[in-house]
Amino acid sequence: MSQIFHKSFNTLSKASVVLGGLLAASAIAWLLGANRAPYISLINVPREQPVPFSHKHHVGGLGIDCRYCHTSVEESAQASIPSTKTCMTCHSQVWTNAAMLEPVRQSYQNDQSIPWLKVHDLPDFAYFNHSIHIAKGVGCQTCHGQVDEMPLMMRKNTLNMEWCLTCHRAPEKFLRPREEVFNMNWTLPKGQTQEQLGAELVEQYHVQKLTNCSTCHR
C-alpha cells in the first residue's frame, strides 16, 4: 500500500477513500431508483380531477368504447380529451342533478373548459403519436393499463424513454391484432404465444423497429 498511499495517510483517510466511492455509487443508484419510483414516475398514484370521472364505471361498467370520447385517437397524435358536450350527450338525460357533475354543467353553460389534470404527461421534447400506434396494433391497455378497473385515472407505466424502447426494440412482444386494440380484456388466442403472434403481426402490419432519435424528438 505504501506505493499508493503516502505515509501521512492514517486508517481513517484510507477508509474514507473507499467509503467515498461507495457513497458516490449509492447516490447514483438512489437517483436512478428514484427516477423510477412512484414518487417521480407517479405509477399507481390516482390523481384527483375536477370531476371524479371513473373509467371503471364508464368503460368497465357501461362498456363505452374508448373512441366514443377519445375521438381523434385513430387519426391524430392526440387521443384528445372529450369536450364537455360529449359528457352532456348522456348527462343531459341521466344524473342531471348530481352534485359531482356541477362543474360539467357549469362548463357547458359558460362555454369554459374543464381543467383536467394531465395523467399521462410526456416531456415536451418527446412527440408521441397515438394514431400510428393504434394502426400498428398497440392496444390501449398495453400502455395505459387496465383502465376499465380504475375509478380514478392513474399511470401504470413510467413513460420513461427506457420503457418506450422496450417495445420499439421488440414490438413483437406487445402487439395484438388491430381489431383488438380497444379491447380491454383481450387475451392471447389459445395455443398461440405472444412471440408467434407478434412476429406474424410485425410482418403483416409492416412494423418497423424505429429507434432513431428523430422518431420521437425534434
Binding site: L31, A34, N35, Y39, I40, L42, T71, S72, E75, S76, A77, Q78, S80, I81, P82, S83, T84, K85, S107, Y108, N110, D111, Q112, S113, I114, P115, W116, L117, K118, D121, P123, D124, F125, Y127, N129, S131, I132, A135, K136, Y205, H206, N212, C213, S214, T215, H217, R218
Partner: protein, 1018 residues
C-alpha cells in the same frame, strides 16, 4: 462608365477591386483585398468565424473561468434532472368546433392586402391559433408560394406592442365612448356637407371598403378621401396617362418573354407582386426549350439585378439616359430634347440589348421601376408598343386598386388645406403620415391645426400619438374583408382568429363614419358581395365556394386595348456636377416601415448587403474612396434643403455617384424592436422628387456600428481548388462544361452528392473513410437547390423561422455572429467591385452521410438517422459546440443566451406545436423539417403505403416563389429530386472532405449575350 483609379486606393487593391486579380468569388471587400497574404486571410477567417471569441481565445483567464463555470453548471444540471414533472392541465373544448381534430392543423384560405394587389394565402391553424402562412396554390398571385412579408405577417398578429384598446388623448377609452363622442361632430359636419372632413388612407384595394367610403362621401359630399402611401404608383400612372391618355396598369406575362429589360425595377424579389413573376421567370429559366435573357440597369443591387444575365450599375440619371437611348434605337419619337448621349460601355450595352430586343420583337419586355420619372414610364410604354409586346408579354388593364389617384400630390394638398385650417376632422385609416409623409409636406405642423384627429391603426404609432383618438385596428388575420389581386381577382380576407384585443376592422370603423356604428364586418362584406353578384338564388353556395377557395372565380378585370398617343418625353435628366444622386427606395425587408416592429424582418439579412437591424447609405467602393469614408462612418447627407446623419455602407455593385438609402427605419413609435434601428429616410424625402435626387455628403467624424451577417458562418474553402459556387452557360453546357473545372474529379467523390450523373446512395468504392458504411434501404432524404433561379428574396429564411420556432437574437448578438437562422443565403460577388455579378447560395444543413458533427458529440446529441438525417436531440445537448466547430458548412447554431421568448404570452401562440422550443445552451440546426417527414410517414403508414414523392415538402421549399428548392427521397428513382441529382451540373459543396452531403446544388446557369463582353474576372 470609365474605370476609376482613385489616389486613395493602392494600385494593387484597385486591381483586385477591378476584378483583375484575387479570388474569383468573394463575400466582402475585405476578403477581396486581403487575398494576397494568406496568413492575413487566415486571421481574417478566424475573426470572421468567431467575431466575439477572438479575445476569449487569446485570454487564458477568461478561458479558465469559462471551464470552471461549465464544470459547475454540468454538476447542477445533473441534479436538476431528478425532479418530478410539474403538473399540467388539459383544457378541452366545451363544444368542439366542426371539422376540428385536436392535434391536427386546419388550413383556411385568406389573402394579405397589398397596394399593388393582394396575395392569396393558406394559413395553418392549430386549435384556432394561426401559426404558419403558406401560399394558396390556386390563387393567381401566389401559385402556392409567398413573399417574405406575408410569411412574417403572422408575427405581426402576435406582436406584444400592438395597441389593444381605444385611446383618447393618451388615456384608455372605449369604442362606445368614441361612438358617443364622434356622433355630434359628424352631425355638425353633415350640415356643412362635410366641408371640414378629410379621410386619409393608404392605397385601398378592398372594393367593399372603397364602396363604404364612397357611401360616406355621399353623405358628406364636400368631404375628401385622400389615399397616400410612400410606395405608390404615381409615376407609372402619370406615364400611362402620357402615353395612352388613360390610367392603366401593366400586367406582365414573363412566361412569354424571351428578353426582359428591367430598369431600376426589382421585378423578381419585391413583395407579394413578385411571387408570380419570379415563378414565371424561373420556369423559363429551367425550360429546356431555351432560357430567357434578362438585362438589368439599376443603381443599387437587388435580387433582380443579381439574377440578370447582364447588369449595368448606373445612377438614376444614367438609367434615364439608357431608357431614352433604347427608345430612340427602337424608333420611338423622343422629341427634340428627349435623346441622350451615352458613354462607351453604356453604348455597347445598349446596342447589344436593342439588337436582342428587336430580334425578339413581340417576345420581349421592358419594365420601368416606379422611381423612374413619368416620362421614362411613358417611353417604356412606347417601347413595348413599338416592339409589339403589348398583348403578348404585357397587357394593360385598370389598376387593381378600386380608386386610383395621384397620391403624393393629394397628400401635399391635404397638408396645405390643414395648414390653412380648412380641415376640422381628420380621420386617418391605417396610414402613418407623421412618419412617412415627405418632409416638405410639413405634415405634423399642418395636422396640429386640425381640431379633431382620429387615428385608426394596428399600433399607436407616430401618427397615433399625435391624434386625439386612437382606435386599434384588427390584423388582417382577424378581419373579414376583401381585396383585389394584381389582375383584379376578388380575394377574400378571412379571419383565422377572433380579434385578440378590443380591435375593430376597417369596415367596422368606416361604418361608424357612415352612421352605422354597430355593423359587423362580416355582414358588411357579405352584403356587398351579394349585391355585387346580383343577389343570385344560389348565393350561399357561391359564397361558401369563394370562402373555401379564397377568391371568386373568374373575377379578374379584363385587359384592354391601348393606343399610343403622342407625348412630350421632356429632356434627359442631367447628372448634377459635384453632387451625388440620392436614391430613396423601399427597404427589401421592412418595405416602407410598416414591418419595423417585426423581429423576423428586422433580423433577416438584406439580400445583397446582408445588413441586419439597420439601413445605411449605400455607396460604391469608388465613391466611398473619393469621399474617403468607409462602412460604419457617419456622414451628413443634404438633399432638397434637408439634412440627415446616416451611416455609410460600402456596397459593391452600387452605381458610382449614387447613394441609396432605404426607407422604413428610424421609427420612434413602432414598438420595442422597431424604435431606434437605422435612419429615417423620410426626413430627406421631398414630394417634388420622392425617389431622391441631387445630394451632397459631408463626413461627420462619427462612427456607427452596423451588424452585417455577410461574413458569418463562412465556409473555409481555403486550400481547396474548387469553388463553392459554380457557374455555366448554355453554350458551355453544350461543350460539356457544367461549372468550375473539377480539378480533383474522382469517380465517387461523394455518395449522394456531386454530380455528373453519379448514382445517389452510398456508392461502393468511395474515398477511404473511417465512418460506418451506412446503408440506406428505405427512404434517403435529399435536397437540390438550383442556383440559377434563387432570387435571394429571403422568403425561405423567414418561412423556416416560422416553421421551426427559431427566435431572433437582436442586433448586438448578430454582430457577434450568433444569429440563429437555420437557412442562410450566402451571397457571393464575382468580378469587379464596381459591378460584380452576384450569386445567391442558400445553405441549409447538408445532412452529410459522413457527418463530421456526429462523431465529435460527447453525449450523442447529434446522431445519424437511418434515412440519412443528422438528427438533433435537443434534450441531450449540453452545449459543448464541438459539432459546430467541426461542421465544414457552418450550419449549426448555438443558443448562447435564452433567445426564445418563454414569457410573452402572445408570442407563444405563434409557435409550431410540432417543434421543440429550444432553450439556452442548446445547439440547433436545419432538420429538413423532420416534423413534416414524421407526419408524412405516419400518414403513409396508416394507409399502408410508401411516402409518395411530394408528400414531404420542407418549409423553405414550399415558400420559394421560384421553386429553386427540390426535396424528396433520392432512393426513389422516379422522384424529382432523384432526377435533379442526376443532372450533369449537380454538385456538392466541399466534397473533397468526403462528407457526402445530401444537399447539393445545380450550377448557376446564365444566358449571356455574346455581344457584350463578360465582366472582368468571370
Amino acid at each position: 462608365m470609365s474605370e476609376p483609379t482613385s489616389s486613395a486606393v493602392p494600385v494593387e487593391v484597385a486591381q483586385r477591386l477591378a476584378g483583375q486579380s484575387g479570388r474569383k468569388y468573394w463575400k466582402s471587400l475585405g476578403e477581396l483585398t486581403h487575398d494576397a497574404d494568406f496568413s492575413a486571410r487566415l486571421t481574417e477567417h478566424v475573426r470572421r468565424e468567431f467575431p466575439s471569441q477572438v479575445e476569449i481565445l487569446a485570454d487564458p483567464v477568461q478561458r479558465r473561468t469559462f471551464l470552471q463555470l461549465m464544470g459547475a453548471s454540468l454538476a447542477l444540471a445533473g441534479i436538476s434532472s431528478c425532479t418530478r414533472q410539474p403538473d399540467e392541465h388539459i383544457l378541452p373544448y366545451a363544444k368542439t368546433p366542426e371539422a376540428l381534430i385536436p392535434g391536427r392543423p386546419l388550413y383556411f384560405a385568406t389573402a394579405m392586402p397589398w397596394a399593388s394587389g393582394a396575395i392569396g394565402l393558406l394559413v395553418e391553424s392549430h386549435m384556432g391559433r394561426p401559426t404558419k402562412i403558406e401560399g394558396n396554390p390556386d390563387h393567381v398571385a401566389s401559385h402556392g408560394a409567398t413573399d417574405l412579408f406575408s410569411q412574417a405577417s403572422v408575427l405581426d398578429l402576435y406582436d406584444p406592442d400592438r395597441s389593444t384598446t381605444t385611446v383618447r388623448n393618451g388615456r384608455g377609452s372605449t369604442w362606445d365612448e368614441l361612438v358617443a363622442s364622434l356622433g355630434p361632430d359628424l352631425e355638425a359636419q353633415k350640415l356643412k356637407g362635410g366641408a371640414g372632413l378629410r379621410i386619409l388612407s393608404g392605397t385601398l384595394n378592398s372594393p367593399t371598403l372603397a364602396a363604404q367610403l364612397n357611401e360616406v362621401l355621399a353623405m358628406f359630399p364636400k368631404a375628401r378621401w385622400v389615399q397616400c402611401e410612400p410606395v405608390n404608383r404615381d409615376n407609372q400612372r402619370l406615364g400611362a396617362l402620357m402615353s395612352f391618355a388613360e390610367d392603366v396598369a401593366p400586367r406582365f406575362d414573363l412566361s412569354r418573354a424571351e428578353v426582359i429589360v428591367s430598369l431600376e425595377c426589382d421585378l423578381l424579389a419585391n413583395g407579394p407582386e413578385s411571387v408570380r413573376l419570379a415563378r414565371a421567370w424561373a420556369d423559363r429559366r429551367r425550360s429546356a426549350a431555351g432560357m430567357n435573357r434578362m438585362y438589368a440597369v439599376e443603381s443599387t443591387p437587388t435580387g433582380t439585378g443579381s439574377l440578370a444575365d447582364h447588369r449595368l450599375a448606373l445612377a438614376p440619371s444614367g438609367i434615364d439616359r439608357i431608357a431614352r437611348a433604347i427608345a430612340q434605337a427602337v424608333g420611338v419619337d423622343v422629341g427634340a430634347a428627349g435623346g441622350a448621349q451615352l458613354g462607351g460601355e453604356e453604348q455597347s450595352f445598349v446596342a447589344a440589348l436593342v439588337k436582342d430586343l428587336k430580334a425578339q420583337a413581340g417576345k420581349s419586355l421592358v419594365v420601368a421601376g416606379e422611381p423612374l420619372s413619368p416620362q421614362v414610364h411613358a417611353l417604356v410604354n412606347a417601347i413595348n408598343v413599338k416592339l409589339g409586346n403589348v398583348g403578348k408579354t404585357l397587357h394593360f388593364a385598370e389598376p387593381a386598386a378600386p380608386v386610383s389617384v395621384e397620391q403624393l400630390a393629394s397628400l401635399k394638398r391635404l397638408s396645405e388645406e390643414m395648414a390653412r385650417r380648412e380641415v376640422e376632422i381628420l380621420v386617418i385609416l391605417e396610414a402613418n403620415p407623421v412618419y412617412d409623409a415627405p418632409a416638405d409636406c410639413e405634415f405634423v405642423a399642418a395636422m396640429q391645426q386640425v381640431p379633431l384627429r382620429v387615428h385608426f391603426g394596428t399600433r399607436e404609432d407616430e401618427t397615433g400619438v399625435l391624434c386625439h383618438w386612437h382606435v386599434p385596428a384588427s390584423h388582417f388575420l382577424e378581419t373579414w374583408s376583401d381585396a383585389r389581386a394584381f389582375d383584379g381577382s376578388l380575394s377574400i380576407v378571412q379571419p383565422l382568429i377572433a380579434p385578440l384585443y378590443a380591435t375593430k376592422s376597417a369596415h367596422e370603423f368606416v361604418s361608424l363614419l357612415a352612421g352605422k356604428p354597430g355593423a359587423s364586418g362580416y355582414d358588411t362584406l357579405r352584403e356587398a358581395w351579394k349585391a355585387r353578384m346580383g343577389a343570385p338564388a344560389d348565393f350561399e353556395a357561391r359564397w361558401q365556394r369563394a370562402l373555401h377557395d379564397g377568391f371568386l372565380a373568374d373575377s379578374a378585370v379584363r385587359t384592354r386595348e391601348v393606343s399610343l398617343k403622342k407625348f412630350d418625353a421632356g429632356a434627359a435628366s442631367v447628372t448634377p456636377t459635384g453632387e451625388l444622386e440620392l436614391a430613396l427606395r423601399p427597404d427589401p425587408s421592412l418595405h416602407d416601415g410598416r414591418f419595423a416592429n417585426n423581429g423576423w424582418l428586422q433580423e433577416v439579412p438584406k439580400p445583397v448587403s446582408k445588413l441586419t437591424w439597420d439601413n445605411a447609405l449605400y455607396l460604391s467602393p469608388q465613391t466611398a474612396a473619393d469621399l474617403d469614408v468607409e462602412s460604419g462612418d457617419v456622414v451628413e447627407v443634404t438633399h432638397a434643403g434637408r439634412k440627415l446623419k446616416v451611416a455609410v455602407w460600402v456596397q459593391p455593385g452600387q452605381a458610382r455617384g449614387s447613394a441609396t438609402l432605404h426607407m422604413g427605419f428610424g421609427r420612434t413609435h413602432a414598438g420595442k424592436l422597431g424604435n431606434g434601428p437605422g435612419f429615417n429616410a423620410f426626413a430627406l424625402r421631398n414630394s417634388a422628387m420622392p425617389w431622391g435626387g441631387p445630394a451632397t455628403i459631408a463626413r461627420s467624424g462619427e462612427t456607427y456600428k452596423l451588424a452585417c451577417a455577410q461574413e458569418h458562418h463562412d465556409m473555409d474553402a481555403m486550400g481547396f481548388e474548387r469553388d463553392l459556387v459554380r457557374e455555366s452557360t448554355p453554350a458551355a453546357f453544350a461543350r460539356g462544361e457544367y461549372g468550375a473545372p473539377h480539378l480533383h474529379a474522382k469517380p465517387a467523390e461523394s455518395a449522394a452528392g456531386a454530380g455528373h450523373g453519379e448514382k445517389p446512395g452510398h456508392a461502393e468504392g468511395a474515398l477511404i473513410t473511417q465512418y460506418p458504411a451506412y446503408k440506406y434501404e428505405g427512404y434517403a432524404w435529399g435536397m437540390v437547390i438550383d442556383l440559377s433561379t434563387c432570387v435571394g428574396c429571403n422568403a425561405c429564411v423567414v418561412a423556416c423561422q416560422a416553421e421551426n420556432n427559431i427566435p431572433i437574437v437582436g442586433k448586438e448578438q448578430v454582430a457577434r455572429g450568433r444569429e440563429l437562422h437555420w437557412i442562410r443565403i450566402d451571397r457571393y460577388f464575382t468580378g469587379a467591385a464596381h459591378n460584380p455579378r452576384v450569386v445567391f447560395q442558400p445553405i441549409v444543413c447538408m445532412q452529410c452521410e459522413n457527418a463530421p458533427c456526429e462523431v465529435v458529440c460527447p453525449v450523442g446529441a447529434t446522431v445519424h438517422g437511418p434515412e440519412g438525417l443528422n438528427d438533433m436531440v435537443y434534450n441531450r445537448c449540453i452545449g459543448t459546440k464541438y459539432c459546430s466547430n467541426n461542421c465544414p458548412y457552418k450550419v449549426r447554431r448555438f443558443n448562447f443566451l435564452l433567445y426564445s421568448d418563454f414569457t410573452t404570452p402572445s408570442l407563444k401562440l405563434q409557435r409550431n406545436p410540432d417543434v421543440s422550443v429550444r432553450s439556452r445552451g442548446v445547439m440547433e440546426k436545419c432538420t429538413y423539417c423532420v416534423q413534416r417527414i414524421s407526419q408524412a410517414r405516419i400518414d403513409a403508414k396508416r394507409e399502408d403505403r410508401a411516402i409518395r414523392d411530394g408528400d414531404v415538402v420542407t418549409a423553405c421549399q414550399q415558400v420559394c416563389p421560384a421553386q429553386a428548392i427540390t426535396f424528396g427521397d433520392i432512393n426513389d428513382k422516379n422522384s424529382v429530386v432523384h432526377r435533379q441529382k442526376a443532372l450533369p451540373h449537380n454538385y456538392g459543396l466541399l466534397t473533397e472532405l468526403n462528407t457526402a452531403p445530401r444537399t447539393t446544388y445545380l450550377s448557376r446557369v446564365s444566358n449571356p449575350n455574346a455581344d457584350i463582353p463578360q465582366v472582368a474576372g468571370s
